[in-house]
Symmetry: C2
Subunit: 233 residues, 2 copies
């Protein structure tokens, strides 16, 4: 099974493992080891422990660099949306990783192969194995194909879209007119800052600033949301 | 203040920042930025977000390599003991980081400079700045001086010492005779496996295996603890 995984990785991602034993370990569940004792097999959990931390850093670093205006709270929300079971299990399926997991008979019968928590674990353990075998740059390249394009495809927009959240909150009990108004622009063209107010039915409910109107609006929406929530909405 | 921090880092750790602005950012709290508007200052939260993930990975990788026998559950417990506010705030004090934080007046008066949560944040943001300025190897070297020696000093033993935890639990209500017995040894000399039972007053209460007697005993103790706790102890 691992031979086929190696072929799949080579064809799909041009990844060639120096030490295929790491792949063995990354794709083997404890239930399989228990059914094949005395073979010196290892199961994926330790590598998964490492892979989890590798993913956290790789994703954190990417969004930190890519969104220089995003405050820490939004970075955390975005990372949480990207680094979670639901996302990772989908990525694992997309990479066909489900086909190569070594499971014990009972787990197989119980449908573990399609279980999101297992698929998520395997995605993390694969990343751990890749990191051990080829280092951080190889992980970045892989994730650059599998995860990061999904940012542009809107997979994680819900995590950072404060304008929509604000609209939903305000229009919960009926129509409200929401308006974003640029009230100030400062700085030279190459370092322009915008100050924006958000108004509900012509009343100011929040303000924000940023290096683009969009960012300033997003910040104003976030600010308004915080105010409204503190007021008990 | 940042000049003195640079001197401190050079003297104590032989660290020289290429971009001292990263240090400015890492040691500046939002309250200070609020009191000094229009200076284009940044506060530490974004860098802290990154530093947190850098620390997670650096510590994970170190204990993964150093304890090749430790199962994932114990690695997680050990990491949690190392990567936490209480530990980081102590490390920050040890590095004299408290002296260099830029705080707003109100926060200063409120005693924020000695607040563990702030010290922890600053430790993480410093790591983020070091990572951005000089990469992962520099962080590993710094942590190799500040955190890793504490493993040998026993700072985190409580996180992995199941034998002591078991003893404490069993002897809560009086003296109990606890014994670890090797019941089997298999494999060649260079890949020997030990199976160990732990007995309380001559009754078996757990079993474990490992590549050394010590690890097998630790696992037996953990197994016994799990059993006892499930039984409501």
């Amino acid at each position: 099974m691992i031979k086929k995984l190696e072929q799949n990785l080579a064809t799909k991602f041009n990844i060639h493992f120096n030490d295929p034993k790491l792949l063995d370990e990354a794709f083997t569940q404890a239930s399989y080891v228990n059914e094949h004792p005395n073979q010196g097999l290892k199961y994926y959990e330790r590598i998964e422990f490492l892979g989890d931390a590798v993913l956290q850093l790789t994703v954190s670093e990417y969004i930190y660099q890519r969104y220089p205006e995003l405050p820490q709270g939004k970075l955390s929300r975005l990372r949480a949306a990207m680094v979670q079971e639901d996302s990772f299990s989908k990525f694992a399926l997309e990479c066909d990783f489900d086909k190569y997991i070594r499971l014990g008979h009972g787990e197989e019968m119980a449908g573990a192969r399609q279980r999101p928590s297992l698929l998520c674990d395997i995605f993390e353990s694969f990343i751990g194995a890749l990191y051990l075998d080829q280092g951080k740059a190889a992980v970045e390249e892989f994730i650059g194909q599998v995860i990061f394009p999904k940012l542009d495809q809107g997979w994680f927009d819900h995590a950072v879209d404060y304008k929509t959240s604000l609209q939903e909150l305000l229009q919960r009990d009926g129509d409200v007119d929401i308006e974003y108004v640029v009230i100030n622009e400062v700085g030279p063209d190459n370092d322009r800052k915008y100050q924006v107010e958000v108004r509900a039915d012509n009343k100011k409910i929040g303000a924000g600033a940023g290096s683009s109107k969009k960012h300033a609006e997003m910040q104003a929406a976030q600010n308004a949301l915080n105010e409204l929530r503190q007021a008990g909405n």
